[in-house]
């Protein structure tokens, strides 16, 4: 049994990046659409690299992942 677990940098922005953006980068709605796309391809896990910044920024990114992205991609 083989599966798929994409990994990418977590880069949630406050405004939409629009056309030409990199996958998993952009607003919550944009990244949620990416997550739904890979979910549709059979991915069971999505792993994100935390931003290479200070602890507050990493903490904030995890909180946005849990409280905003996860519900939006459900």
């Amino acid at each position: 049994m083989l599966g798929l677990a994409p990994r990418n940098l977590l880069d949630l922005t406050d405004t939409a990046k629009g056309a030409g953006r990199a996958a998993f980068q952009g607003s919550v709605a944009e990244v949620a659409a990416d997550v739904k796309r890979v979910k549709g391809m059979g991915a069971e896990w999505m792993t994100f690299d935390l931003p290479r910044a200070g602890i507050p920024e990493m903490t904030r990114a995890m909180e946005r992942l849990a409280r905003e992205l996860k519900p939006a991609a459900a």
């Binding site: 083989l2 677990a5 896990w45 994100f48 409280r67 992205l69 991609a73």
Partner: protein
């Protein structure tokens, strides 16, 4: 869908990694992952940093501090450690965490690091393939046996074995077409999973189909 975060351990103290892992668990996230380097050569320090705690030791510590969240490597560079040493470390983390370990593995990319570790960079795919087979064999019986090109053993007890049977999930990092294909034979029947650092979902899925 489950969600995990990869901790940038090259810029974290152990206490900071602990704090982030505990917060991830409190937030209801599903996994915390750590990467792996033994030596930080210039190509590694340029992109990341020079501070690389041992991933198995760090995960064992986090296992004792958390209760629910999965703890994984993303990824253990298989050629860096003797296959049985890696198997023992992985089994111990799985025991310490009560079966929450995810065994992410990769073949490595920093050739200079391989040189200093006196490892055959150009053979890393074949070597890793053999190591995965050996590790799976070590997990399969109290007195396992295996005979491969790079690893052979028999007639000894291997304990503890992992809590998860037949073994923890094995994730292989990289693109299926570029890095995972050499590991395809070893992955069959392993419950393997591809964690792509630069996901190209459609292409990855095609690569997985080729491996199946």
């Amino acid at each position: 869908m489950k969600y995990g975060v990869v901790l940038p351990i090259w810029q974290l103290t152990v206490a900071e990694a602990e704090s982030l892992a505990l917060h991830a668990e409190e937030l209801g996230l599903d996994g915390v992952f750590v990467p792996d380097h033994i030596l930080a050569k210039p190509a590694t320090t340029q992109h990341y940093g020079g501070h690389w705690p041992d991933p198995f030791s760090l995960l064992a510590f986090l296992a004792g501090r958390t209760r629910r969240i999965s703890l994984g490597a993303s990824v253990i560079v298989l050629p860096y450690r003797n296959a049985l040493v890696a198997a023992k470390s992985a089994a111990t983390v799985d025991q310490a965490s009560g079966g929450r370990f995810i065994f992410g593995v990769g073949v490595g990319w920093d050739e200079a690091e391989f040189v200093d570790l006196r490892l055959p960079f150009k053979e890393r795919g074949r070597l890793s393939d053999d190591y995965i087979r050996a590790i799976k064999a070590a997990f399969a019986a109290d007195i396992p046996q295996y005979s491969g090109k790079y690893v052979s053993f028999a007639g000894a007890t291997f304990s503890p074995r992992p809590v998860q049977r037949p073994h923890p999930p094995i994730w292989v990092g990289g693109s299926p077409r570029q890095r995972v294909r050499p590991l395809g034979a070893a992955l069959r029947g392993a419950g393997g999973c591809v964690a792509s650092a630069r996901p190209r979902p459609r292409r990855d899925r095609e690569g997985l189909r080729d491996l199946a």
